[in-house]
Symmetry: C2
Subunit: 357 residues, 2 copies
């Protein structure tokens, strides 16, 4: 069990073997209402049905389009109509989108109500469930609205990972890999070794869920509001986000992060921060973990990519603040000239590095 400090409250992270055991542990009794990812409710219907009281369960479409005030309004109303009170508990079951939705609702309903999170994807378990911030979209602006409001308890149903589709596991690995690159060479190489057999040995994922949180915890505790050191967790994200949005999310988040990490490392090598050999080694090791999406990146409109990089929320002018690397565990935030350095590096990366054959 981990205990994580945050300004609003300390919270614990506990692992349970199954959804059933995780759900049995949540607080609130009759005062608990459940927000459940509709897809999860369908996939695990037989297991979840007897565990979730129908009159206190609200199914939620977990898509980016549903992270808006328009889509949240009926959810707020359903929770209130079903009798949620300020001494109640919102229990959220799902992945990252559901966490955004649940966190935002819990943070503003009654000016903050208790919530517990059961993350059910690798990405949510290994990364997003701690240091929780919510992100809501408005009009054309993505993730510009949100709150910092961690769950009051994170309850990890470990066994659920073995039931996930392989594509979803692969996508979740992006942040797992990024976190071990931040942690240093030893952890990263151990992860690469374990991943060779991950398909036949899914339980190894639970080990890397725990290891991921262990890397992330000191960053979020030192900088809950993302004003300093926590920025380093965005390694790969300026580029990854641009690749996601330019492909209209055709490239899954975790895959985009891997491609973004490689782009940032390539850029770091071009700027002389890290030997080219370091980039080449990462490229070789990580190629299996982004393929076959390299092809999709090549067909994405390049101007949309550069527009997204320029509009990235972490930057303000003609230079873009990038998380670059000087080697394993040695990331650094540095301003980089968009036209002179970023554009040619990204063009080269897309045209020559992710090419197939």
């Amino acid at each position: 069990m981990l205990t994580i400090k945050s300004r609003s409250h300390e919270y614990t992270v506990e692992e349970f073997a199954s959804l059933r055991e995780a759900l049995a542990s949540v607080a609130g009794g009759e005062r608990a209402l459940f927000l459940v990812d509709r897809r999860l409710a369908e996939l695990h219907g037989a297991e979840l049905h007897p565990l979730l009281p129908a009159e206190r369960t609200v199914q939620v479409e977990a898509t980016e389009q549903h992270k808006s005030f328009e889509a949240l309004t009926p959810l707020f109303l359903e929770l209130l109509q079903r009798g949620l009170k300020r001494d109640g508990v919102i229990v959220v079951l799902g992945g990252g989108v559901l966490q955004d939705i649940g966190c935002f609702i819990a943070s503003v309903l009654f000016r903050g109500v208790r919530w517990e999170l059961l993350p059910t994807t690798l990405l949510a378990q290994a990364d997003s469930c701690i240091g929780s911030k919510s992100s809501i979209n408005i009009g054309p602006y993505k993730n510009q609205i949100g709150t910092f409001y961690p769950p009051h308890r994170v309850v990890v149903p470990g066994g659920v990972l073995a039931t996930l589709p392989w594509d979803e596991i692969r996508s979740g690995l992006g942040e797992v890999i990024k976190l071990q690159l931040l942690a240093g060479e030893v952890g990263f190489r151990e992860l690469m070794h374990d991943l060779q057999d991950v398909r036949s040995q899914p339980p190894v994922l639970s080990k890397w869920v725990a290891r991921s949180m262990a890397v992330k915890q000191p960053y979020i505790e030192a900088d809950e509001f993302d004003r300093g050191i926590r920025n380093l967790l965005n390694y790969g994200h300026t580029f990854g986000h641009a690749y996601e949005s330019a492909t209209h999310f055709g490239i899954p988040h975790g895959i985009a992060v891997i491609l973004g990490v490689l782009t940032a490392t390539h850029l770091s090598a071009r700027l002389g921060l890290v030997p080219t050999g370091h980039y080449r080694e990462l490229k070789t090791l990580l190629t299996p973990w982004y393929e076959p999406y390299g092809t999709q990146l090549q067909t994405a409109p390049r101007d949309a990519i550069f527009r997204a990089i320029q509009q990235d929320k972490k930057n303000t002018g003609q230079t873009v603040n990038c998380i670059l690397t000087r080697g394993f565990g040695r990331m650094e935030k540095l301003p980089v000239a968009l036209a002179a350095d970023i554009v040619p590096a990204v063009n080269h990366f897309i045209e020559n590095e992710v090419a197939v054959g």
Copy 2:
């Protein structure tokens, strides 16, 4: 200058003679955007026009109906389209409703952006501008959504009080009177004395703005999130809110608070907590400050009043948590039986105490 502690940040309250001087002191320069109560912009157009850059000013309808996600969405979009960035400042000019709107927007945009508040009503200056929480309505549910996010600076344009319509000043006095009842007998009697000449001497109001904040500050610093001692600031509010909603806000908030304070004191006397003489004296002293709204209260549907009291957010069952009084400065939160004690006390108060003639 006051300095107020809050969990998210310390902030100062400074008084300036005029809107012009107050506005000259706000932060942000070109990075500031202004949310301005439309009525204020009309009333003080000549003074405000040269001070507020048109391209960075958004006028806002300050009504309860506009405290909703639907009405806030275009405001968020306007601020983003006009170029507000995460290092920007939202400057809010207006009364309580505008403060709710501005506070909510500032608390969730970019997960929290700097905001400065220029309160322009007596109610906002004397009471709501410190200890700031925002309240947003959703569907039929009033004030159930919100955040705790004080301004980064409160800039009080003192001179503006002299320009307010008398009805608005009267309404603002409700909270001023309630705060002095909480403070104790000496302050309350001094206030009653000063109020005799307030119509011809509006500058005396600035003294009571400062005195009100001085009473409120220790409550909000000790209990920012309204879980304990701060509840006492709700003296009169369970009943006052019910009177407001049952008359569809025909009784202004401050007047409803005075009527609510008298109801709570009447109830306290019936329950033997305070001598009847104390209630009778308050009734005599406060009658001029709620008249002629007593008549309106008598015509309000009684069932709507009791429904509102029962649904008051501070209670959960067949008893209602009321702030009662044992005398000047001796308020206490106590559970009171709805059917046996509250209903007859409210009926008696409305039928026999606020009767005209």
